[in-house]
């Protein structure tokens, strides 16, 4: 190799490196701009939640209110009327595992939401794994057919089944109870979750099952002791999705829950919106508190379920 070609090659690599550096800068600038604009609504929410009533409509907006009105949070949480200072539902009461508690506020809504979300979430995770295991690992007549039916139900919009379901649960006497929001989750937890779990089970070598069966494991034993521990990313994904779904669910509570003391956070917040109208400092305080647990759950679980989506959603 003579000197000229070596020089040319160096020039080639140098220009390649430079173009790479430029791309890098452009990409970073775009990502920072994008990231900031994605976060802007959340910052606005945070800022409004600390303002006094007089400041929320100021133009240009006051980004950092002085002083910070921390009292907006307890006022929103306890549903205090900003005009009169009266606690709105202080005379109402609600039930907590047999105890009667005075005063309906966001604690009531939170407890209701946690109760529904946790039970529904456990149900969806467990039952979707059960069903998915059978579709992934066991042989039985009608398997293909039932699997196609399961996939087909993914196409059915919830609104089609909503009305007959409502009539059915109402006939059972479940109107204004939590059951219509929990029981369906225990019945497979929806086709999407089953699909996700099955895809994951398929990636685990069948030899694992066979070895366990030779050692005398039952089908349930294989499922419970061998496969489930290997499926943590998929299980986390389903759990997080189910929890977020139930936490954010609005249409179902809207249809089924009527009494104020049975409402979930999402439904209670709507109540709050119609009561407070333009008092955005209180509305933002309440909205922010409701959003934080989901955001935290996502931040903690993201490593797992991004992996879960990546491995099960595609291949």
């Amino acid at each position: 190799m003579n000197e000229t070609t070596l020089k040319n090659a160096n020039g080639f690599w140098a220009s390649k490196k430079r173009s790479e550096r430029i791309t890098n800068i452009v990409v970073t600038v775009l990502l920072v701009l994008g990231g900031v604009s994605m976060m802007l609504p959340m910052i606005w929410m945070l800022s409004t939640s600390f303002k006094a009533l007089n400041d929320i409509f100021a133009v240009p907006p006051i980004w950092i209110p002085n002083p910070l009105h921390f009292e907006n949070y307890p006022n929103a949480w306890n549903i205090v009327d900003p005009q009169t200072g009266r606690v709105m539902f202080g005379d109402d009461s609600w039930n907590f595992f047999g105890f009667t508690i005075q005063g309906v506020n966001f604690t009531t809504y939170l407890v209701n939401t946690l109760f529904i979300s946790i039970l529904a979430c456990v149900g969806a995770t467990f039952s979707s794994a059960l069903v998915a295991f059978a579709f992934a690992r066991l042989r039985f007549p009608g398997r293909e057919f039932l699997w196609y039916i399961c996939l087909a139900t993914m196409m059915v919009p919830a609104q089609v089944t909503m009305i007959p379901q409502f009539v059915f649960f109402k006939t059972l006497g479940w109107y204004d109870t939590f059951w219509p929001l929990i029981v369906p989750a225990w019945l497979g937890g929806g086709a999407f979750n089953i699909f996700l779990m099955r895809q994951f089970f398929m990636t685990i070598p069948y030899e694992m099952d066979e070895a366990a069966k030779i050692d005398g494991c039952s089908n349930f034993g294989v499922f419970w002791r061998i496969l489930l521990p290997l499926c943590k990313p998929a299980l986390t994904t389903v759990t997080v999705f189910a929890f977020v779904y139930n936490w954010n669910d609005f249409l179902n509570p809207l249809i089924y829950l009527d009494s104020n003391n049975k409402k979930t956070l999402a439904l209670g917040l709507t109540n709050f919106v119609s009561l407070y109208g333009q008092d955005y400092h209180l509305l933002m305080a309440a909205s922010l508190i409701i959003t934080i647990p989901i955001a935290l759950m996502f931040l903690v679980g993201q490593r797992y379920f991004i992996q879960g989506i990546a491995t099960t959603g595609l291949k």
């Binding site: 994605m38 133009v59 039952s127 139900t153 009305i163 379901q165 059915f168």
Partner: protein, 303 residues
């Protein structure tokens, strides 16, 4: 069938029992019931009356609100789905470059899509689109110099209410981005190296390697996002106080179904509407399947 096979089948049916129960009570049974209901007039309180095709006849021939809802839903889908897809693919490609701090950007972009459809965030958007003191008009007037009084009235305007909802949906591009990102990482690097040796520039690589490699994911996402956008509800309900206003400009299919069923107690009519929505979704999905020749699957030769 041997006894071992019979035993396996028996335990399999036990495993899928939740699914079978849900087929009977939660999905399958209700679908049939919805079909039957759609031929009836029923207000829940008095016995149902069989009215044949009356509901469908009324919907198609004598219900301007239905056509309005259908138009609004189509408008919303036609705007939010393509823009959302282009943006989420673009962000995924940016994020697939080797730059520092990817985890942070990924979190910033993905987080909004996780909380995006919640009631709390819908309340936030209602505030952002407040035409006098909301963030949106402040930013518009700050960057362009247009006085706030001349900015769009968003949720109070028949023209701007749907674009406002589209903007809300775009805040959720992170959901698609995460899936495209996984798709991009699944494209073998060897293909890029080979095309570079063949002298392809970045733009050519994008169209000959990236897009074909990503096409199955795009196809899947396209179907899912159209189906989802046909079912948009929470944001609209909160941002328009359940009405779909102003002047029905944000009345979408699901809002209309909800109103008919649970405000006016026209269960039969609402069931018919829901079934029409179902048929539309099926038809759109079927059309996409039919015209999916552009989707390239690895290991399959192009015909």
């Amino acid at each position: 069938m041997t006894s071992g096979e019979r035993k396996e089948a028996f335990s399999a049916y036990l495993f899928i029992l939740p699914f079978i129960l849900s087929m009977i009570f939660i999905v399958g049974g209700p679908i049939i019931a919805a079909l039957v209901l759609s031929f009836c007039k029923w207000d829940i309180f008095t016995p149902a009356q069989f009215v044949g095709l009356d509901n469908y006849e009324k919907i198609f021939l004598d219900d301007p609100r239905f056509w309005h809802a259908l138009w609004n839903t189509a408008y919303y889908t036609a705007l939010s789905v393509p823009i959302g897809m282009v943006l989420s693919i673009a962000v995924a490609i940016l994020m697939n470059q080797k730059v520092k701090g990817i985890t942070i950007y990924r979190t910033l972009f993905y987080l909004p899509s996780v909380i995006g459809s919640s009631v709390a965030v819908a309340v936030l958007w209602k505030w952002i689109f407040n035409s006098d003191s909301g963030l949106m008009n402040y930013l518009i007037s700050f960057t362009t110099g247009i006085p706030i009084s001349e900015c769009p009235k968003w949720l109070a305007s028949e023209v701007w209410s749907k674009p406002a909802l589209v903007i809300v949906s775009l805040w959720g591009v992170g959901g698609g981005m995460i899936i495209y990102l996984a798709g991009l990482q699944g494209i073998p690097t060897a293909l890029y190296e080979a095309s570079e040796i063949d002298g392809a520039n970045r733009w050519q690589q994008f169209w000959t390697v990236t897009m074909p490699g990503l096409s199955p994911v795009i196809f899947f996402q396209l179907i899912i996002s159209i189906v989802n956008s046909f079912q948009v509800f929470n944001q609209i309900y909160i941002m328009t106080d359940g009405l779909g206003g102003p002047a029905d400009s944000t009345l979408m299919m699901v809002i209309y179904i909800y109103q008919k069923a649970f405000k006016y107690y026209q269960m039969g009519y609402a069931s018919a509407l829901a079934l029409i929505l179902f048929v539309i979704i099926l038809a759109v999905t079927w059309l996409q399947q039919k015209y999916s020749k552009w989707v390239y699957y690895e290991g399959e030769l192009r015909k």
